[in-house]
């Protein structure tokens, strides 16, 4: 697995945690309940390596700090 894909996958885990498990809950038609987050991981993990267009969330080290 290339480094870029590995890092995108690392960031995707953090992204899913935040968008689907965090944030303000305002009464509305929420697409997903928290309980479904694990299922989303399973399906997204299968997808992630084929996603060429997704914006790459850079890891902090790549923003200038050697880790």
């Amino acid at each position: 697995m290339s480094t870029a894909i590995a890092e995108r996958e690392v960031a995707l885990v953090d992204l899913v945690d935040r968008l689907l498990g965090g944030g303000v809950v305002i009464a509305g038609d929420i697409t997903l309940a928290v309980a479904d987050v694990d299922l989303v991981y399973v399906s997204l993990r299968a997808l992630v390596s084929s996603v060429a267009t997704a914006k790459e969330k850079e890891l902090l080290p790549r923003m200038g700090d050697a880790l």
Binding site: V24, I26, G28, I30, V51, K57, L67
Partner: protein, 209 residues
């Protein structure tokens, strides 16, 4: 249908033009929204949503809204936000001037677990005890020093025994370099572990008042 992105101050700086966005005014707060997306959860859809929230975050404080919060129309959204206005204002004050950093810790030498059914009861208990002790040790040596540099922190339950720590830190914007430098030092001091640090994220884990 409209979809909410974030709760922020009203008035605020002009909205970024990378998506068709609007702001609903709710008594000193603004709810930033756009047309509802298709509802299918794909990495692209999540990144697109995140891109909008991050663009907003560049020049304002905000509370990100849970992904997929769709409401019938503007009037419904205003009513829904107004109901929680007091809590939201307090929560927004709590994240003012800060961003979120994610830290996950993995055991670098972890081999895939032996097939579950073949584990004896004793082996199972032993593995469980080991993972509890890895977790305690990660909290003591990593989470506690990182928390000192953060305004607030949250730990989520790890998803696997090979992940002793999964945490989020609310860090003042000027303190981000000190935080990442500490992550780097902790990584050097703990070669058995892999420290994965991403961000800056909108404060998704710190939206409770």
């Amino acid at each position: 249908m409209i979809e909410l992105y974030a709760i922020t101050d009203n008035p605020g700086p002009p909205l970024p033009d990378l998506a068709p966005l609007g702001a609903l005014s709710v008594d000193g707060l603004a709810a930033v929204y756009g047309p509802a997306s298709s509802g299918e959860v794909t990495p692209e859809a999540l990144w697109r949503h995140e891109e909008v929230v991050e663009a907003l975050m560049e020049d304002r404080d905000l509370l990100p809204v849970r992904y997929g919060t769709c409401l019938e129309d503007e009037a419904t959204a205003v009513r829904a936000v107004a109901e929680r206005r007091a809590d939201l204002a307090v929560a927004l004050d709590q994240v003012r001037g800060a961003i979120e950093l994610a830290v996950r810790v993995l055991l670098a030498d972890e081999r895939p677990a032996a097939a579950g059914p073949e584990l004896s009861g004793a082996q199972y208990l032993c593995a469980k005890a080991r993972s509890a002790s890895e977790r305690e040790s990660a909290i003591r040596t990593l989470h506690e020093p990182l928390s000192i540099l953060a305004r607030a922190s949250r730990q989520a339950s790890p998803r696997a025994p090979s992940e002793p720590l999964r945490a989020a830190y609310l860090v003042d914007r000027p303190a981000v370099p000190a935080f990442t430098a500490l992550v780097s030092r902790l990584q050097d001091a703990n070669p058995r572990l892999r420290l994965l640090c991403t961000g800056p994220w909108p404060p998704y884990s710190f939206t409770e008042s």
